[in-house]
Symmetry: C2
Subunit: 125 residues, 2 copies
């Protein structure tokens, strides 16, 4: 894989982001540094960065992919009201049962859905 300024910038911006941005959001942030970058370049590099394990992806109820620069295993909570995404660094053990089923687990993605504290308060009023 050849070096490219575009991919460097994309990776840095995803690593710096803590809001699980979509490709389009990443595109507009990268454009502040590289104004004429192509959206296709952003998608292509996000895909290769994801394949290389440099970034993680989240598939949510909205139809766009969210990217996560934090590749440490963790889970997510999404508020059904405000769509805010919260990172959860609880322990993520692979249950014993996988062995007996002969399943080799390489990664896992968990999303919890519900209400965040702020939205619970608003609902209560």
């Amino acid at each position: 894989m050849r070096h490219s300024a575009q991919r460097d910038t994309i990776l840095r911006i995803v690593k710096d982001a803590h809001d699980h941005p979509t490709a389009d959001t990443i595109y507009s942030r990268v454009r502040e540094e590289i104004p004429n970058i192509s959206l296709g370049t952003v998608y292509r590099n996000l895909k290769s960065l994801s394949d290389m394990g440099e970034v993680d992806t989240m598939e949510t109820l909205d139809k766009s992919i969210h990217y996560d620069g934090n590749t440490v295993t963790h889970r997510h909570f999404i508020c059904r009201e405000c769509s805010h995404i919260i990172d959860l660094f609880f322990e993520c053990k692979i249950p014993e049962e996988f062995h007996s089923l002969g399943l080799l687990v390489e990664s896992q993605k968990t999303i919890y859905y519900g209400l965040c504290p702020d939205c619970q308060r608003q609902k209560a009023q």
Copy 2:
């Protein structure tokens, strides 16, 4: 909500399916019974059935939504080689930590990725 033959059929077919079909797959199955049903009708009803909690959805690495007629809380394993989806009925406890964070969890979706027994064998050869 008014009764409709189309929705009844769609729900029955999703409940009978055990392969987590996409809207398009469901469409072709429903067409065997209602040949002139519209794809839009399938999408619209899958959405309302999902809103009503009659079916569950799965957002996977491929970009289409998979539907699950089994609404008992469970998790999924997807093989990265053959894309086979396996249902897992292990216990799905909500960790204690959510309370201290003030997060109200209403549902959860977990997908494990890895290799199924068959694909592990093929890789070993």
